[in-house]
Amino acid sequence: MADLGTSLRIGLSGLQASQEAMSVIGHNIANVNTPGYSRQSAVLSTNPAQNNGNILYGTGVSVSAVQSLRNQFLNLQVTQSIAAQSGSETRYTGIQAVASAFQDDGTTGLNTQVQAFFNSLSTLATTPEDTSARTNVLGQAQSMLTEFKSTYQVVSDQISTANQQVASLVPQVNTLTQQIASLNTQISQNVDPLAANDAIDQRQALTDQLSKLVGVQVSTDSQNNYLITLDSGAATLVSGRTAYAMSTTPNAGNGNRLDVLVASGNTPVNVTGQIKGGELGGNLDLRDNLLPGYQTKLDQIAGSLAGQVNQINMTGFGLPDPTTGVSSTGVALFTGGNGASTGINPATGLAYTTAGVPNYTGMISALTLNPAVTADTDLIAASGVAGVAGNNTNALKLAALQNSLAAVDTQGNGSFSTGPFSTVVSSLINTVGTQAQGFNTTATNQQNLTTALQTQKASQSGVSLDEEAAQLLAYQQSYQASAQFVSTISKLTQQLMSAMS
């Protein structure tokens, strides 16, 4: 039979269950702003009944579990989306940083400087005997070189910035992977690995942070361990309780920029080209592909322009000496060339690495005006005939370079791209702009996707204060009622006691 003691215990179980459920609510409310927190709810279940003959008496209630409401599939989608978003944002920021150097407002900029140089050659054609026109050609050539060099330098600076970013991101990645590995340990050691709610949430929040830094793929095993690999699958970062450390090492073949390695057994794996997403992937892409691509184009345009101007200038004749009437044969207007040069190309006057194969890499840094021409502007070969001051045929040829189709020798091997110099410059500027725009669009789209996924995730897992308040009211009432019940039973017991005395 259900005695007073049993009733008292039933009341007590109600008090305990309500109080425990309220503490879960308190936990939810406390974590309303914790990133990655999934709301928890107390699962109440009826205690086993007490068998008294053929009558079953209930024995109250207890909290059988604290459940977390999360959607693991959504979590993984968010992780992927964050990596893609931060990768695009990093690329966009890097390109945007150099874009202003390529910008041309019609008074400053690469396109304007190239135009101004050709303008000066055109003026030279109208007054080939005029020294001031020659000085102007040199001045414009110098400004054009300076513009090429400063644009190139801005890109170089951005490349070093990206490289420094790589160096500073790697330790952050390592900190996160170590924390995730230790949470893996904590979760898998739990009696029920799926019930370690707070550790699971924390691990997910850390994984989201990790995916912002580096593109990863995440999967779970039977022990609810996270297995984290790079997005390309090239290396494993976390497996069970082990975090594989990332490290950097300078690569002599790539200008001592840092290669990224991941520990794996005895030999670390080089993953430099194998990271797509996240800030690390974005910075590596900027450093090794996007920005050097702009530099190559700049080198090609400047090298091609200098080479072709030289070529024409070398076939003409300078201003004749006023006393002797003798004019010198034209010389190279620009000197320099590839840093690791082995000789001078007799046709273009520029240095080369391998005979017959002009290599434009590093051309801009080496290009200078020929000091002989700076010292004596008469060496600018406006004339096509020796000893004739007023002949302008060579100056006209120089000025016509701006229109000549197929002006830029992009490969440095005689295979010319179509388009005059002005178009080639503007198409490079267009490439920079298009890539900036492209990554900006991708970043915006990814941001939309991330927000949508996070909203969806929050809608399932997020803490709603209204909901918690309503729950709190319900448990408060059940607590009060249970307390009332306990007090009633206690009164009955007292009555019984007093009747006996």
Binding site: D104, G106, N119, E129, N392, S422, N430, N440, S459, A469
Partner: protein, 309 residues
């Protein structure tokens, strides 16, 4: 189905929206203050590259226009010299006619001869005309004084004039496919097709006329007079040719200038901000920003806790 709206979610979405509106707000503001449709390179790359290509075309056309200006000024200077030459030759022919007239005698012919000599010096001076630092009639040797009078003459050798220029022509480009010759080499203008000392040589024939007048040689006078008439025709033809070239350049230049003003208009339509649109966008953004801010302030004010005593 009613969607659960947890407390954090509201903030996240509204915050993103607010950031977007602020970004758009800032971009429109930049457009309005800079006057450019695409102040940043990534805003509209294809428009940016269009604008650059227009800039290049405009700059190229300006070069052609500058060359056309130089060509015009050279041709005009040449034309002025030719006009003076024409006047001088007409005076020369008058003097020749006077010398050939029956009324003329030896002494009057000597007087006529001295005026012819003055005209001869005038011709040499005209042949050595400089314009903007160049000798107009020296061919391409524009820094060399082209005509040198060989004084004194010997009895056997009539006073000759040496040409120190060359027969090169100077061209300037008026378009990628069109160029114009801006000079007449002095030897072809003064010496004619026969070359120096021949019957077509203006200076030699003037010298002959002068010497014939001085020596009262009527036969020589007649020959020189006839030759000078032919030379006069040639100079007139040359003037007509110059006029033709000048007209051609003017037409081309007008074309270039019209083309450039069209290009500038098109360029500005691409590059410059469309103020009505930008201002409308600006006020829209402004309204949206205010709305978002007030919505954010309202929605996050209340929760059920406010009503539980």
């Amino acid at each position: 189905m009613t969607m659960r709206v947890p407390s954090m979610m509201n903030n996240a979405q509204s915050l993103l929206d607010l950031q977007r509106i602020k970004a758009s707000y800032a971009e429109t503001a930049q457009q309005l203050t800079s006057g450019q449709a695409d102040p940043n390179l990534g805003d509209d790359p294809s428009a940016t590259s269009l604008v650059l290509n227009y800039q290049s075309s405009i700059s190229l056309n300006k070069q052609y226009m500058a060359q056309a200006d130089t060509a015009t000024s050279q041709l005009q200077s040449t034309s002025t010299v030719l006009t003076s030459m024409g006047t001088d030759i007409n005076r020369l022919l008058e003097l020749g006619q006077e010398g050939l007239a029956g009324t003329a005698d030896a002494s009057s012919r000597v007087a006529l001869g001295s005026e012819v000599d003055a005209l001869r010096s005038d011709f040499i001076g005209l042949g050595n005309t400089e314009a903007s630092g160049k000798y107009l009639f020296a061919g391409t040797k524009t820094t060399t004084k082209p005509f040198l009078d060989n004084v004194p003459a010997t009895a056997t050798n009539p006073q000759s004039v040496t040409y120190q220029g060359d027969s090169g022509t100077i061209s300037l480009d008026l378009s990628p496919s069109n160029s114009v010759v801006t000079n007449i080499p002095g030897n072809s203008l003064f010496f004619g097709p026969g070359g120096q000392g021949s019957s077509t040589d203006l200076l030699a024939q003037t010298t002959a006329l002068r010497d014939a007048l001085a020596s009262n040689n009527t036969a020589g006078l007649q020959t020189a007079y006839d030759n000078l008439k032919t030379i006069n025709d040639r100079i007139n033809v040359a003037m007509g040719d110059l006029g033709g070239r000048e007209n051609g350049i003017t037409t081309l230049k007008d074309g270039l200038s019209a083309f450039n003003s069209n290009l500038t208009t098109i360029q500005s339509s691409v590059a410059s901000v469309d103020y009505p649109t930008a201002i409308t966008q600006f006020s829209q953004d402004s309204v949206a920003q205010q709305a978002t801010l007030s919505v954010m302030a309202k929605t996050n004010q209340k929760s059920l806790f406010d009503y539980i005593a």
